[in-house]
Symmetry: C2
Subunit: 719 residues, 2 copies
């Protein structure tokens, strides 16, 4: 389906419907851009007034054009859009760009109109960019199309870019010119009624002129699709995204702006991470990072060498490199010996290599070469601070020359020079990214390294465990029949157990002999809890007895319990007791599931017990998760050190903990109507290191559950 | 003493010793700068070759100059520095700037020479900048001194700046010109043998041409002095500092560079915070923030209004504002109604105010005025994204005009325009800071607000509690006499108790009757622990019994204990038992003291128990701390929510917890030889909310302790 977009992105003939000779109108500006940038195909401006615009003949209607048209750029009043699309259909136009605004972004009425438009687009098998957008650009030779009303003409290059905000798209095109970072294609998706960021990810995945993809998103239309396509695309080229609306207030602003759902940033963050998308938080950062991807190979590791002509910047670079999670390379003895042979006596050959202020160009050249050859170095930051002796442009040219001869490692240049230098360097073709400050360079390096990690990361599996689906159906059906969407603790434990999750063993006993028999099966120590529909304050009357170590003690405690009840005249209120395995361990984790209205099920794992809400040491991933997702998730929380046994406890059985999360994932894939699920605590046994669900809480969507379970029973118990 | 620096910063006559006519030398470059910038006083270049440099007569020796000289700038070989200083003394010169390198930064020999130089400086009652520095600048009318070899001539302004790295200083002077942020004075302190950042803080505090102070530091020579002076200076003007060497690797690079001590960043971070210094982490951030301070009043609160002509940037601004801890202002109904009266129908009058792309200049003007008048707004971010209609310079001028008429609130402009615009705006005088992206603006706003908080912050007190100093001396003396620097738990508890810290009550008992009597005094429940010099594995033989609830139970447990010992043939090994108060509560905090070799005692507070090392939810402050420092410290940890009773427990007695920390502070002020002190856990009682020291560990510096305690005893028990 990918090639369907060719009619929009690589048209041979474009109709500009609503083209205008009046300057200052969008219909005029688009004609201006198309002609000024030199579109390689035919242009057919359409306007009832006919005449000529920028030397091109204007047609009264599209039907007057004899030739085949691939793309219609529509810039008419919103009420004209539907009839215009009908006409385009008659003319068998397959590509549509609706510039016109006044749709979903303006409220209910506009949204309804947008639906009508989309219906027609689907009906005519067209593809559409917009409505409410800035237009499209393709800088490729043989196309040369700027069908937008952005500020400046684009600069050709290898970076594709799409923006959900038209205005921001325009700003970004400006910046890309300032920074000499050329664009291959640009699509302002506007309201993204048909063509979304997902469509473009797929289209650009194999687009030969595109080496990297930049996204500005305020919402993700179809998270599952986005994830699937990102994973495919990011294996081939970097995808760098701004996802705005991170804060609750920002999401609410985004919501009024384009109808995004609020508060889903946790989910968005997880989704981008799982999909290998490099997230940035500002336009500035997006460009800084894009410049490095445009000029650097992916590093093989995270060991950074820094070379500088001044100590201060070397220290600042070291701080920044470490803060970004990279490492300061330990240079080989050979490299150090070699550098000693020519550097000044006061120079430091330890990383950061301080060649001192007097270093001539030759030292830059020799040192950079030596660092490239050093096997302990994965990436190099070259810092030059203009002092009396060298011109920064000369240093830059030296660095570029050596990079040209040795393209294998990322080299990033930091020129702590005046703006003049950057204006100058951004006018020439470079093979090295140039930044003014080491912090920027370190951040870009970290993103390059993130790509190395992503490329080396196994794809992961979604394992399929043998589970007891039928039992879960029964338990939930029973609760539904009782009119409950919330399962009891015991029901929740039953559900978990049916999916092979290690739960705290328990049994119900009607009398002391049954209690003893169950306790013997479970194994001491045990906890005994009364069950009663009448007694509400179980702890107050001593109804929960922990640490029962033997049959004898159990019998004594049972007797004492009965006596206490008798004293209060409650001897007849006892339904029985629960005998429960007593899990010893003070490491309490939490795992579970939350449901985001847009992103669906989120898996959650982290530090549990009394700390969940206070310390928020929890990680999220969007379901479905792979074993690799879960591995990363478990390792991403600080409490992972506790699991490893940082304080001398036996290490937790990490694999079993991971399996617990994967089994939960399978559970909610099978039972999508589960709304919330919490295992808190998942206690790490001090005896076996297992994670044991000591408590569980499950809530389902009542109506969905009812509907689906009926479906289940019709299909006689198989999913 | 402040005026002593006038001979260096406001000299009437300068001798340039080592002035040279050979271009490319430092002695030549400094003469070049002094003459080119137009020093208002007299210049006396000194060089045995005599002649003339830049039209100024050269003297063979300083003694040949008849006139009085205030400042000698010395740029000779390092071996010449000592004799030159002697000569300067003969000439009664009081101000010295030693440009020459080859001192402490080169190793032991250089460090010794530097000591010699400093000795002479002190002996002659001179003041000295350097050695190993870039020079000094004062742009004031009537001085006009650029005695440096920085790249470009300085731009006059209101910002004073000192740098421990000469090269970085040069880079920063360049940037300040690019950004049109003028400098009042610049001092490259180099090795800072005499004049340090502290000296300059004091000097610039009352310097009338200086409105803000920027520092680049790699080490803080005298933390206590720095703190004292910063607190005074920051009450008057903002102090913005880079303290490099944040990472361990960075600190180690700083160490080889200028001899800073490693790994003290926790302490540095605390010190800067306590002193009201605004810390930034890069040169870029330093300037971004400085531009706001140069152009904005301090806001009265943190409620930010955002106005924009495009939705996307509005969302990004909202995200950034929230992430920086500021708030999105709730605009008054009046403001919203007013804006509705003229903004386009599709505009949003809710903050962020989206005036949409068609907004004319008039809308910028009206909206900005309305937001200034809105009492719910403390600061305003004006965003303009160039689309087809307005020129960014026109928008900028409108914003500046309104700011000129309404100077009371901070207004920050974000122009998402091309670099050309910034080159242009940086050439004119502004009264508003201009940034390219909203994230930068939000960060600068957050720093402005931090200053508001600092100015409103009470100075704080160091309360003096009634304590039992004598008892502590005795306890520690006893340990020293036994050759121990580490106190036992009981000794530690005794020390804490002597300083009025609520400790877990305990008592020693020789037999069951004593045990009962002590337990009755302490109150049940209690814990009983055997004490024995012979039994090492106390828990294995059941030597720790918790949860003893009554005299009867205590007698039974004691009996059972004796029986267990008898069984093992240990009945004679028992020395007695400790009866200890049993504190119930699962909130375990930690507080204590660490010693940094450079910063001295650090107070520590945070989440204790098994989480100290894993979760690192702890805060540090440099001692001495005030009650306000401690209040902020306690509130800065995430676990503060637990103290408040986030989970339904009784709220902790926060005041008492704070007092605990203040009493510890007093303890280590009195006994400075205490090296380490840990209360872990400081258990929050579920009964009273008090923080109770259940365990304590104190270690002293043996030699210092011995020496000081002998002093104490000589002075017969008073400090």
């Amino acid at each position: 389906m990918s090639r369907e977009l060719d009619s929009i992105m690589c048209p041979k003939a474009i109709a500009i419907i609503g083209a205008s000779s009046r300057s200052g109108t969008i219909g005029n500006e688009i004609m201006n851009k198309l002609t000024e940038y030199g579109f390689s195909g035919s242009l057919y401006p359409i306007n009832p007034k006919a005449g000529e615009i920028y030397g091109v003949k204007v047609y009264k209607t599209i039907m007057d054009v004899a030739e085949k048209i691939d793309l219609a750029v529509i810039a008419v009043g919103r009420d004209q859009v539907l009839p215009v699309i009908d006409e385009c259909a008659k003319k068998e136009i397959k590509g549509i760009v609706v510039i016109s605004a006044g749709f979903k972004e303006t409220g209910h009425e506009g949204a309804e109109l947008e639906k009508e438009v989309l219906k027609k687009i689907r009906q005519y098998s067209m593809r559409m960019v917009g409505p409410n957008c800035l237009g499209v650009i393709n800088t490729a030779d043989g196309v040369k199309m700027d069908a937008s009303f952005a500020d400046a003409l684009p600069l050709a290059g290898k970076t594709a870019f799409t923006s959900q905000s038209g205005a921001l798209g325009a700003a970004i095109l400006n910046t890309s010119k300032d920074l000499n970072l050329g664009v291959s294609q640009f699509v302002s998706i506007g309201n993204a009624a048909d063509i979304t960021a997902e469509t473009l990810l797929e289209y650009w995945k194999d687009e030969p002129n595109t080496d990297q993809i930049l996204l500005y998103l305020e919402s993700i239309a179809n998270p599952a699709e986005f994830s699937r396509l990102s994973k495919e695309t990011t294996k081939k080229k970097p995808v760098i995204a701004i996802k705005a609306g991170r804060s609750a207030a920002g999401a609410s602003a985004a919501s009024s702006h384009t109808g995004s759902l609020a508060g889903a940033d946790l989910a968005a963050e997880a989704l981008l991470k799982q999909s290998g998308v490099i997230r940035v938080n500002s336009v500035q950062e997006m460009f800084e990072v894009a410049q490095s991807f445009a000029n650097c190979p992916t590093p093989k590791g995270k060991r950074v060498a820094i070379m500088t002509n001044a100590g201060g910047p070397g220290i600042m670079a070291t701080d920044a490199v470490c803060e970004k999670g990279l490492e300061i390379a330990q240079l080989s003895e050979k490299t150090k010996e070699y550098m000693k042979s020519y550097l000044a006596e006061a120079a430091s050959v330890k990383n950061p290599v301080d060649m001192i202020a007097s270093a001539p160009l030759e030292h830059y050249e020799k040192t950079l070469k030596a660092l490239i050859e050093d096997e302990n170095v994965d990436a190099i930051m070259v810092i030059y601070l203009p002092l009396m002796n060298l011109d920064p442009m000369d240093v830059s040219k030296t660095v570029m020359k050596i990079k040209g001869q040795n393209p294998q490692k990322p080299i990033i240049a930091v020129m702590m020079a005046k703006n003049d230098f950057f204006s100058e360097i951004n006018k020439i073709e470079t093979n090295v990214p140039f930044y003014q400050y080491p912090e920027t360079a370190a951040n870009a390096m970290a993103k390059l390294y993130a790509r190395c990690e992503w490329q080396n990361r196994p794809r992961g599996e979604e394992p399929l465990f043998g589970v007891n689906i039928q039992k879960v159906k029964e338990v939930i059906s029973e609760a539904l029949m009782q009119g409950r969407s919330q399962l009891t603790t015991l029901e929740s434990i039953d559900v978990l157990e049916s999916y092979g999750i290690r739960t705290c063993k328990y049994a119900f006993a009607l009398n002391v002999n049954e209690a003893v028999s169950e306790a013997n099966k479970i194994g001491y120590p045990v906890v005994m809890k009364i069950t009663s529909t009448k007694i509400s304050h179980k702890t107050e009357i001593g109804g929960v007895i922990v640490g029962i170590n033997s049959e004898e003690q159990l019998r004594n405690e049972y007797k004492a319990l009965l006596e206490r009840l008798k004293e209060k005249g409650m001897q007849n209120d006892l339904d029985g007791v629960i005998i429960q395995e007593m899990v010893k361990g003070d490491r309490e984790m939490v795992c579970g599931i939350a449901t985001d209205p847009q992103y669906g099920h989120l898996m959650m794992f982290g530090l549990g017990g009394i700390f969940v809400e206070t310390l928020k040491d929890v990680a999220f991933r969007v379901n479905p998760v792979t074993d690799i997702d879960v591995k990363e998730m478990v390792r991403s929380v600080k409490a992972y050190k506790l699991l490893q046994g940082a304080r001398g406890e036996i290490p937790a059985n990490i694999e079993q903990v991971e399996e617990t999360i994967l089994r939960l994932s399978q559970l909610v894939k099978d039972f999508s109507f589960i709304k919330e699920l919490d295992i808190n605590p998942l206690k790490i046994s001090d005896k076996t290191g297992e994670g044991i669900a000591v408590d569980g809480r499950i809530e389902v969507d009542f109506d969905k559950a009812k509907q689906m379970l009926e479906v289940f029973s019709v299909s006689s118990g198989t999913l």
